[in-house]
């Protein structure tokens, strides 16, 4: 890469232009909006400049609820889904015969519309005047009493949302991990076997380090994806998420722009910038942690 060809920049230009117009500029614009107090779309005017928007958003109980929901969702689903995907992938990898069948089955949720899956989840978990739902039927077999997962206690709702999110993200992770596992040189395992390495040690000292870049990739994209959760909550709890107490940060931004309480682009911008800062921080922490534990070869 020593000689810099000016042509290279020419080839990069279309991508740079589109990224600039549709990603960098809006981000910058949102950043500006977030400091403009009482911005009005129609008149394109604002009252003043300052941190008021941030102060408002950070004191808004709906935002705090959304923040709590999002953080809980992120820190429950990312480790759990990645761990579960790893477990399933290793299991899949060790059954060569039915691997393809199971891979297909595990991948099906990925190609299914999230709202449709949400609907199915709702039917499984919700109570109606006529029935307690399939989940409650299962719970009743275990002698546990009906729980209203959709309109009941917060923990139950959070459980359903996490369950649903894990269900949705699992196929992609399994797909990526199974191919990562298949990419590990078989001879390494043979060498380890001849040296009498226990299965646990093979997994922790060989398999995990060998696929660590992929796990790392899944964790980072998993965090970012979970922070941007919105449609999942809508699919389960309907569009009035604030009333259900299950809003997310992205949902809050949307509501501020277009919802019943909409028409507040400044608040929406401040919330979006706060989300950006949180995601950036977490990603930087991930990257720093990754430097010590991820082996690139």
């Amino acid at each position: 890469m020593e000689n810099r060809n000016p042509k290279a920049f020419l080839y990069l230009l279309p991508a740079v232009v589109f990224l600039g117009v549709f990603l960098v500029y809006p981000l910058f614009d949102v950043f500006v909006y977030s400091f403009e107090e009482g911005y009005n779309f129609a008149s394109q005017t604002y009252r003043g400049i300052g941190l008021y928007n941030y102060r408002y958003v950070l004191r808004d109980p709906y935002f705090l609820q959304a923040l709590k929901n999002t953080l809980l969702l992120v820190f429950i689903t990312v480790p759990f889904s990645t761990g579960l995907a790893l477990l399933l992938s290793v299991a899949l990898h060790s059954i060569p015969r039915l691997r393809e069948l199971f891979q297909t089955i595990f991948f099906l949720p990925y190609v299914t519309n999230t709202l449709a899956v949400g609907l199915v989840f709702m039917i499984l978990f919700s109570r109606t005047p006529y029935s307690d739902g399939l989940m409650n039927l299962l719970l009743s077999f275990a002698g546990l009493g009906p729980v209203d997962f959709i309109e009941g206690p917060y923990a139950a709702k959070m459980f359903v949302l996490s369950f649903y999110t894990i269900w949705i993200v699992l196929p992609f992770k399994i797909l990526i991990l199974t191919s990562a596992l298949a990419g590990v040189d078989e001879q390494l395992y043979r060498a380890a076997r001849i040296d009498g390495t226990s299965r646990a040690r093979i997994f922790f000292r060989i398999t995990l380090p060998m696929i660590s870049p992929i796990i790392f990739y899944l964790v980072i994209t998993g965090f970012i994806g979970a922070f941007k959760a919105y449609s999942d909550a809508v699919a389960l709890f309907g569009i009035n998420l604030n009333a259900a107490g299950m809003n997310t940060i992205v949902g809050y931004v949307y509501d501020m722009l277009y919802g019943d309480s909409g028409g507040f682009p400044s608040y929406a911008s401040a919330a979006a910038i706060l989300l950006f800062i949180i995601v950036l921080t977490i990603t930087v922490i991930n990257l720093l942690a990754g430097k010590r534990h991820v082996h690139y070869h």
Binding site: A191, I194, D195, G196, R205, P209
Partner: protein, 399 residues
Amino acid sequence: MHPRGEYATNVFMKVIFDHVTKRFPGRGKNRHNEVIAVDDFAFEIPDGKLIGLLGPSGCGKSTALNLICGLLKPTQGRILFGEEDVTDIPPERRGVGMVFQNYALYPHLSVEQNIIFPLQNLKGKERLSRDEMLEKAREVAALVQIDQLMERRPSELSGGQQQRVAIARALVKLPRVLLLDEPLSNLDARLRLQTREEIRRIQTKTGVTTIFVTHDQEEAMSISDLIVVMKDGKVQQIGRPQEVYDDPSNLFVAQFLGTPPINVFQGRISENRLFIGEEAVLSWSPDSKETPAVTLSQEGGPSPDPENAMPVTVAIRPEGFVVDADGPLSCRLNAVEVMGRDVSVVCEHPALTSAPQIRAVIDADEQPDRSAETVRFSLKPHKVLLFDAESGERLSTGW
């Protein structure tokens, strides 16, 4: 303690194949054709020697290696290390060290961590302290001369250095048998020469029974105490390299060994004379087996009687030709290639079947007239081998 010292207390193992057969079930389209990778192997590999399993690809030599180390189980037969039947013993308890074709070093571990990896697997009484492990790692690293590279990652090493690390890792547990799968195939030509001497040196120094697999006959011949020539899952011949070269049991072995390869002709035997084409090249006395064959001169006598002649396959080593103006074998001269000490005479003969041209290696002082159209050779009888024209089995001759 020097590794040799520890090895001296270790019992080296001879490896015995007791009628071992390994079949693989067919797959896909060939579902019904099972593959017999190793067919009734029955031989003994003596202890403390360097043995080369040699054969073209697909001959079952890697399967044989995997059977020894236990990664594969034989379909039939037993494998013994000395007196001990190891057929049903898993690889980790056989006490074998294995060097894989692509070395199979753990890329995320340093050289030192790679070498101590097998030691860290030991449990209970066998478990060493960390200092003892490092000490052992240092010893074998010094043995294979990589002690300066202990902190490096495999990706920072050359192919030859990686090879040495793999050998060190295989040796650190003091295996009873050391196995090497195509140890030189990933190295460039110069490194290959150097590394094969290195393998010889390490084997001599440790004394461990070492078995390596190769498709390169030169490699196997140059360093092995004993070579096992294989083809299509069957052992063709076992012996010291020189023996196998001088006295191959069949045409395949004769053709597989030697560079340049042996020259094969259609021939006939009639009335105690050997004919190549219409030329009688050797004759011998019917009564005395002791009498060495003599090469005939140009006027070797009448052509063979087609009724009584017995067809044979005649194979002549490149060094079996002698440029001789009165020699019986007349060939069309194509080229004389100078190789320094020797010259290679490239010529044609109608009865030649192995290649388009004969290659004869002649001492540089005796090279033929390059401008001549034909060159005549007489033959060194002990370099002329006869084989059954149909089966390719070696025919015993009086010489």
